[in-house]
Symmetry: D2
């Protein structure tokens, strides 16, 4: 295409509004075309606040509009795959929040639709666009760190989501650890060959009621013997905790936790700093950068930075972790039992 893509947005909940603001803040990159949300009240509130003249509860407003080039999908998880297929069917590129779907079959169908249409699909693993993680990746690729020997990737939410969310989340590994699975394989540049997971329900009855876990450690082994460790919790007790450490033969790089403000308070009890509470604050820059990256890919018709295949492999790793946790045994990854013929010819071969 030539010029700025015209973009529609589906979903104006918390993360949808982040995308909306980032789209509106870049008139040089796109033209905001239409907003759709299934909730009438939300649509009215947001359309009025942002002076949007085209807004509806019906996705046809976007999918039936041939002038719209791309769609950003920020609706609830169970709708992602269908909207990806609808976007592909109407020749539009799509940016979707993670995950593509909660199961590999739906994921494969969505990816096949994109493949057939020849459109673009970017998955919202925003960490890859964070300046900290970008430097980590670069330090690995440039050889600065030497051979990568171990990666530790920890993520904890400040407090568990409501029970309704938990019930539909697909479980801790698919809903939360999926970011870590993507992050580790992206940093490492390859997929593990073995996954071992332990997990427990420690934070609330809600989690036990929906037969999920809230606290987990996943150990991964790579073909070259290097190791990785993912720690997750639904409840940190102190705020949003995202810290990643990469140990190489030449040294280490740590993407650390972030402060809300550069304030330090000194009193008789010691020294006190603040701490970020929400992922939206921690990754505000990353959300903007991933959207700009998507808009650029659409405008120039080039490959997106986070492909559907990336989304699928992260989900496959989550499923492997789930199987390990339930069986109590390590699970090989990339073995025939897991391998599928993927519809996807994008950047990285899916092996699991």
């Amino acid at each position: 295409m030539s010029g700025r893509p015209r973009v529609g947005l589906i979903g104006c909940g918390r993360i949808g509004q982040v995308h909306l603001r980032n789209l509106l803040a870049h008139p040089e990159k796109c033209e905001f075309a239409a907003l759709v949300d299934s909730n009438r009240g939300s649509i009215e509130t947001i359309a009025s606040a942002y002076r949007l003249d085209r807004a509806s509860t019906d996705v046809a407003l976007i999918f039936d509009d041939p002038t719209i080039d791309a769609v950003v999908i920020a609706s609830s998880t169970e709708t992602h795959a269908a909207y990806i297929e609808a976007a592909a069917g109407s020749g539009k590129s799509a940016f979707t929040e993670k995950p593509i779907a909660l199961d590999l079959d739906s994921t494969d169908r969505a990816l096949a639709a994109v493949e057939r249409a020849g459109t673009r699909l970017q998955v919202g693993f925003q960490r890859r666009f964070d300046s900290g993680y970008a430097q980590a990746r670069e330090a690995i690729e440039s050889g600065e760190l030497g051979a990568v020997e171990m990666i530790r990737d920890a993520m904890r939410d400040p407090s568990p989501p409501p029970k309704e969310y938990l019930a539909k989340s697909g479980g801790l590994f698919r809903d939360m650890s999926i970011h870590n699975f993507d992050c580790v394989r992206w940093l490492k540049g390859e997929d593990p060959v073995e996954v071992f997971a332990v997990g427990s329900a420690l934070t609330s009855d809600d989690v036990r009621d929906v037969d999920d876990i809230d606290t987990s450690i996943v150990t991964m082994r790579f073909a070259d013997g290097s190791l990785a460790c993912i720690e997750n919790s639904r409840r940190s007790g102190f705020g949003y905790d995202v810290r990643t450490e990469i140990f190489g033969s030449n040294g280490a790089l740590m993407v650390g936790d972030s402060r809300e403000t550069p304030v330090r308070r000194y009193d008789r009890l010691g020294v006190h700093e603040d701490h970020q509470f929400f992922f939206l604050e921690r990754f505000a820059g990353a959300y903007e950068a991933e959207m700009v990256s998507f808009l650029d890919a659409v405008a120039t018709d080039t490959e997106v930075a986070v492909t559907g295949a990336d989304g699928r492999t992260a989900l496959a790793l989550a499923e492997a972790a789930e199987r390990s946790r339930k069986s109590g045994l390590p699970v090989p990854f990339g073995s025939p039992a897991v391998e599928r013929a993927g519809p996807d010819s994008q950047r990285m071969t899916i092996r699991a």
Copy 2:
């Protein structure tokens, strides 16, 4: 007024573009009405990039448009006072970058015009809107820190500006330390009674050529015996350095330096972090917050957070520092020799 103010912007240089993006990013707060810049090329580039249909090299586009409620002045310093007067003359509120002017007479004329017109004038001391400085002020006002006994406010630029800028800057105290003068008096909640300044030209011949200094320490004494110290340099050798420490009877609060990313690198030489290089990065949030604050004040016809009087007193302190440095003697502040009948009835009585 009712509804969103319509806002024009004069100046689309570095800081002007920051204000432009913040205005465009808040369609719920304002309607962007017109862009003016004296440079035709800049206007064309920016208007095209941001799809602005009303742009001109002639300020009449803004001042002659009765539908425009407010103007943001980000043009070069020597134009500020005239545009403030023009804004007042056409009944528009104004946000101006600091300083209002390089001398107190021009400042007083501009403030008198605003006073007569009954419009609003906000001065761009953005630090007050930084989350770190806001917490510092709050910790003082709430009594958390106890009695404030000493304030240390350091600011260093990464590298000196070009000679042309230096020649028109009004000197280190008026151009750079003015932020510190405002910051200290705002934090302390009162003006000092004595100012002593030393300064040197150490970083380049340019500075000496224009008879200015680039390195200075200003000591201030307050009526209650508390002290303050301002350190400035045109060249830090490492990046943008803004750190403020407040010592009270109950403890201390420090607004520290900021990192670009949350990355720490460990190697045989030690541990390495990055550091911010530009004030635009350090104060990105503050620039947005000050603009929202101004738009809210205009929309609700309430007092702005940083008044013309604040701008005038900061300039008066810069002049006192200049006199001290040149005489080698401490200069009393607030004495009859300095006192003027200010045209301003805003928040804080001008004493110098």
Copy 3:
């Protein structure tokens, strides 16, 4: 006993000299009685430097001297058990560097000898006396952290030891991770019920040659569902790395890495700090505190802070990790297959 214990020291290598200095620095706590080392040159050098008049290559100097109350064993690992037994046999209390022995049978024989003699035995898990770890333990015991849900304990040496050391070390888990096993069970206040370990030889051929590993992750599960993760490497690439994080329902506590000096350097590349390279520096205070604690226990005939049972359980955990790594399967801990009738009635029942 009454008064200061008279203390002999066996071994004046690197760690032996640390103990020597700590014994000499506390004349109010003990009387230094005799030094023994199998190396004649070392004995002469050290005895001369420290003006020690009783020194020998023969341990009889200590074990045959009835005026000596206690012995500090800092000789090579394979001698520990025999000297513990000799100390018990001559009615002396003993402080031994870890491990008691490289296998559980030898360990059990040594503990049985101590049990029969009714003497004291303290094992050199010095971390427990570090002010940081002591605060961590206290924060857990006091309930400040709430329920402990996850512990992450990482330790990396700056560079691998020589091949000769590796060959006799007993392997990474028995030689290095043993500190982590002790630390985690001490912090948690209980033993895990399952251990899973992965490991690789990544840093040198030496490690492969002796059929050992140099990089490992051990995951542990506790009866209450809480989890722990131990990371080890023989080579950090940047210095000595000891960091422990405890996540509880109320928050987290992290014992972090340490700097050599409080210096920060700022230049155009960023901000630089130093980092400690050796465990002797990191734990200098802990080595002194553990010795004072041992001397106090001997002087007052009260229980030591780190018992032989503690040393045995840490070794049992290392063996469980070794079995897990070799089998590729999780290993239950405390099951009948592992349980033994321990000779030890000290503080904590040995279950494995």
Copy 4:
């Protein structure tokens, strides 16, 4: 002399005990010969705890013993000069706590006695032996920092001393800032040409009652135009605060505040670290290093690292600051009015 010096210690109060432990901990560097303190109870307690057989309330025990090579003077300030003279008179080298005396005349008499005797005199400016400050000095001397343009040296005590101490202290500048005066001139490698000081009594009536100040800022100008700033307070409100920042043309170096432990606590209020409360903890290593340096100078009959001339100049700067504060005017340093014919030919010419 050949071999280890025999050393006597006068004064076993807080700082005296620090020196005692450091002397006893280095049997390879010295032989501890005798302890003197004017307080009989202290002598008995300390001599018994440390098993010292030669202790007295009479300094003759030291000065009349020809086998004693050196004396460490840690008694109260008003006795320093007399004991320095007595040491010189009996041919012994001396280490004295700062200051040599509270006035320049007594200082000059003591230095003249040392000069005549040809003995050594080291003054206890322990900061110079701190690893952080040593690196700062090295970074300046090596040129790493480029030209030094500004030094900021802040020191705050956790809480004011008792009134009796204040009354005899010589005032804030002589008692406390003297460390900063020495530090700045040592780092800079030269003396300032102008001193301006402001100060207030803010922390207690005690300070006002003895006509002293407790809070001060001293600005200093050097011949090359570079600047320095010293901040002091008798009461920080949070602990012992010693931080020094050096700004050069190539970057900056900061000797920062120190933590008691490497613990960080994370909870809903933020992140919390501890902070050191006492100078004895902060400078424990420096106190040991300065004593070893003195013992080495005595053993090898070479120049000490901190000379009597250094002690005198720091006092002269304190007097200049006092004059500035009282007159309200900057005071030139090194001018004829201040210059004296010093008896001292040691490392640095005394100019003031």
